[in-house]
Symmetry: C2
DNA sequence: CTGTTAGCGCGTTCAG
DNA sequence: CTGAACGCGCTAACAG
């Protein structure tokens, strides 16, 4: 294992100078900087981040706490994009990342979690997939022992930023587009999970639209489940003439139901992911750049760790039309 | 942050003594041991694993490298069991775990990966989901710079153990049972991925059975895809009278196809997971204890790190019958 | 601008 | 059986 001392010797400078170079400190002359960089290359030196974390007060070890949607099929593609986006950006920024899953934390108190994270020298945390019922994680955030970035939940304080798209206007836009393209006035809205944050932001978008366009709005909770969306559509699809879903997966469930019922209703979804599709159905959707979002979250955490204040960061989205073909996987 | 010194002061001993107690060194008197343990409890002391990793030569930081089956729906439940099994055991053993995914390593050379892992003070690695085409990871294993435990791939050397069930006899057993229960002599075997290790071990089981029972064996590769299994069954289901699949997911695809074709053939699967099912179809399967398997893998890695030699560890399985009901999710 | 000195929190000798 | 002393690899203050 080649250490900073080896590099120092090889370059004919002190270890601290090497440290200054690799950490991009300002006060280093061009000449020695180049000498050191050359030595680093030649020895294939990679700084030991464990030692750095121990030494530096100002370190950047970060935990990514992810709630994988194990129940809802196919969502893992999105999860993967979140995870990879965050981790790639972290590597770019020289931040160490530890990935934790919600299920690992189950049954632990916020104190226990705090101690564990401290024992890992973790100072910053990104949370993805938080629902209103994750009380312990809410405690953790409220206690402000770490810097946080929460994705897709409007939680904020001095130490906590949130990043997400504007779900309200995203839902508004895609539904409006679908209605204008098809003409309809009775909307079945299949919402997400009752305990999810984005669920109600999106409902707000629908309510605004309903008011503006004078629509009859029928809101049901589909829990992001294809099956549930199918059931809801079987029951209430006929009496409405537009079906708006809070996810593509549910849109597929709805389309499937309509196929079974042998009637047509325009359907739109949300996420713009390439899910396993069905039945040659064209579906409007809201496409988010998931990996971009989580990369932004990592950046935001970085600025928080460097003294930034918690704030809200809003990312863009685009409307897309997806043509689901007859593929199951 | 409460450190080992605080505990030492609180217990009226030296820091090194505390260290000996928490690391279960033999030469500590009962009395001081209890004093220290009391202090640890009272101060809620959790050792800083980063510092421990730095100090100890003999440390236990471990990477879990996972190939998530993003393409195949619903397999994530199994992935989660693997991950949680390994991590829970690691916590029990006081080992730090870093979870990496294959996609993070894509495009990196084994040298780069080695340097990265060394920079993280990682000494042991568990790999799950390895296929024959993951050349870089094979290099990594061959170079023997770390201790390895490979799950479900028969790779072994001084530093490398593998743990898995006996796929050959598992496949043999479940197929035999299904055939005996139903009587049949022409078997359509829908195998897994062409580049997967377990695929060929299971095929061996089928070949042995075919020889013993004098069966006609029709082997096709379903790539663990429900759709592919459905297609294969549509094409070749009728001409055979038993359908054996290398995964439950494919068994469901086969059952679906048989439903469409409106014919009956006994079907059996593999994994014994609770997948999203279909059509009230009874399917024999081989149930593995995934979290137990990965927990075993972590234990095995632990013994490797403590001087054990690489070896093969075989875990048990059970035959089960699963009744897939009409649920989609 | 550079090198020296002191730790970070812990594990590990080695006297006592 | 216990504790003082040293060092892991690195960063941070301070001299020079």
């Amino acid at each position: 294992m080649v250490s900073i001392k080896d590099v120092a010797r090889h370059a004919g400078v002190a270890a601290s100078t090497v440290s200054k170079v690799i950490n991009h400190y300002p006060n280093v002359s061009r000449a020695t900087k180049e000498k050191v960089e050359k030595a680093v290359k030649e020895l294939n030196f990679v700084p030991n981040s464990v030692a750095a974390a121990l030494s530096s007060k100002h370190t950047s070890r970060v935990a990514l706490i992810v709630n994988l949607n194990v129940e809802a099929q196919a969502v893992d593609e999105i999860d993967m994009r979140y995870i990879s986006g965050a981790i790639n950006k972290a590597m770019e920024l020289g931040i160490d990342v530890i990935t934790l899953f919600f299920f690992m934390l189950r049954g632990k108190s916020s104190e226990e979690i705090t101690r564990y994270l401290k024992s890992q020298s973790i100072t910053g945390i990104i949370i993805y997939g938080l629902s209103k019922e994750d009380y312990v994680l809410h405690d953790l955030i409220a206690e402000q022992n770490f810097k946080f970035v929460v994705i897709d939940a409007p939680l904020m304080n001095e130490q906590t930023s949130c990043v997400s798209i504007d779900h309200t206007s995203g839902q508004y836009d895609v539904a409006k587009k679908t209605i204008l393209e098809n003409e309809g006035d009775k909307v079945l809205y299949i919402a997400g999970k009752k305990n999810g944050y984005v669920t109600f932001e999106r409902i707000d978008g629908m309510k605004k639209l309903a008011e503006e366009m004078d629509l009859k709005l029928d809101i049901r909770f589909g829990e992001f489940s294809e099956l549930e969306a199918r059931k809801i559509t079987l029951e209430h699809g006929e009496e409405n003439n537009i079906i708006v879903c809070a996810s593509d997966l549910m849109a597929i469930g709805a389309a499937k139901a309509l196929n079974e019922m042998d009637i047509f209703r325009p359907v739109c979804g949300f996420d713009g992911a390439m899910l396993m599709g069905y039945v040659g159905w064209k579906i409007n959707s809201v496409r988010q750049d998931f990996s971009g979002l989580s990369a932004k979250a990592m950046e935001e955490l970085y600025t928080l760790l460097n003294g930034g204040k918690g704030r809200m960061v809003c990312m863009p989205y685009t409307l897309v039309q997806i043509d689901y073909m007859d593929v199951l996987i």
